[in-house]
Symmetry: C2
Subunit: 219 residues, 2 copies
Amino acid sequence: MKIEVIENVMKYNKDQADKNRKLFNGNNLLVLNLLSSPGSGKTSLILETIKRLMDKKNIGVIEGDISSTCDAEKIGKLTANIIQINTGGSCHLNASMIEQAVSKLKIKSLDLLIIENVGNLICPSGFDLGEDYKIVMSSVSEGDDKPVKYPPVFVKSDLVILNKMDLLKVSDFDEVFFENKVRELNTRSDIIKLSCKTGSGMEKWIEWVLDRCKKYNNR
Amino acid sequence: MKIEVIENVMKYNKDQADKNRKLFNGNNLLVLNLLSSPGSGKTSLILETIKRLMDKKNIGVIEGDISSTCDAEKIGKLTANIIQINTGGSCHLNASMIEQAVSKLKIKSLDLLIIENVGNLICPSGFDLGEDYKIVMSSVSEGDDKPVKYPPVFVKSDLVILNKMDLLKVSDFDEVFFENKVRELNTRSDIIKLSCKTGSGMEKWIEWVLDRCKKYNNR
């Protein structure tokens, strides 16, 4: 009985995600769904990405938080294409929330839409939002065992970003262990190591985004 | 209809939590429920606590993870009183899981039971496990805005631990901002700042635990 309810919820979400995807595709929009623990650096990555691409691409952001607008305010200093979703306690974004948010964005003018999911390494990975790529971000200060302890999000993501590489020198993070554990779960995804703080590695991320823009902006 | 289902689940959990609490109280056991994001240092805190108290107190640990036993293995080197719960995907522990785990521990011999919840700053805060105290851990590397972005867990916790104080010198974490934001949500809880890595501040935490053991072990 309970399982039936969950299936209905997931089926409803999948249908809405497919509608979102159709809308995104019809507008030649690349859509990224960014997932991580609280404090891994999702907002910092978005800020640094906008700074580097604002002359080349029109970027929109949907900011997901259980409450508050503090991240959206930071991003709002760089772009007007920003919508905050406050989930009111819910631990993940779903496709219906994205539908509502997108209706308030001028998506015809956008090349790239970045969705910053609620900070949670577990629940958001189960909800398709209609994105083209799921990206999981982990950070050096969280430790090298995250793929071992939270496998589903690493299995489902199309790219793994390892942030806060500037802290490597003051930590016992084992890069080889981390990479091996990611590889055990997921052989298709690149691993990009960077530091939003120092900028190191950011060029690889920007290249990854621009490569995909080429494809998705010209469908 | 959906709300009714959720109420039933929460009512069932509360009833089981009350049973757990009765069992814990009857055995003069202090029970702590430790909550945080992935990688904040819950396991490190438990390891350092056992090392400092193993000659004075019998400590049991229930380790919650969606999968894996890597944290339990680390703790198992210091105590035999360790049970792993693998939630199989669920993003939080519930009171029934704790009932099952406790049935495998020799709780009559224990003074202190520490429950390490699944790494998630959102969902676990809604589930009473029958514990005496909820403790939320945040870390310097996650940033000072966690109380703003994830208020419920800070509202519901009886103690706030700020870990990784050794990273303060390489971060822009604002201690006053963090403390003020915690205080806006919660005036009753202490804030203990420490570093599991260097040991600084650990004496305050150990004192906090021993003070509560005095009360709960002699009911």
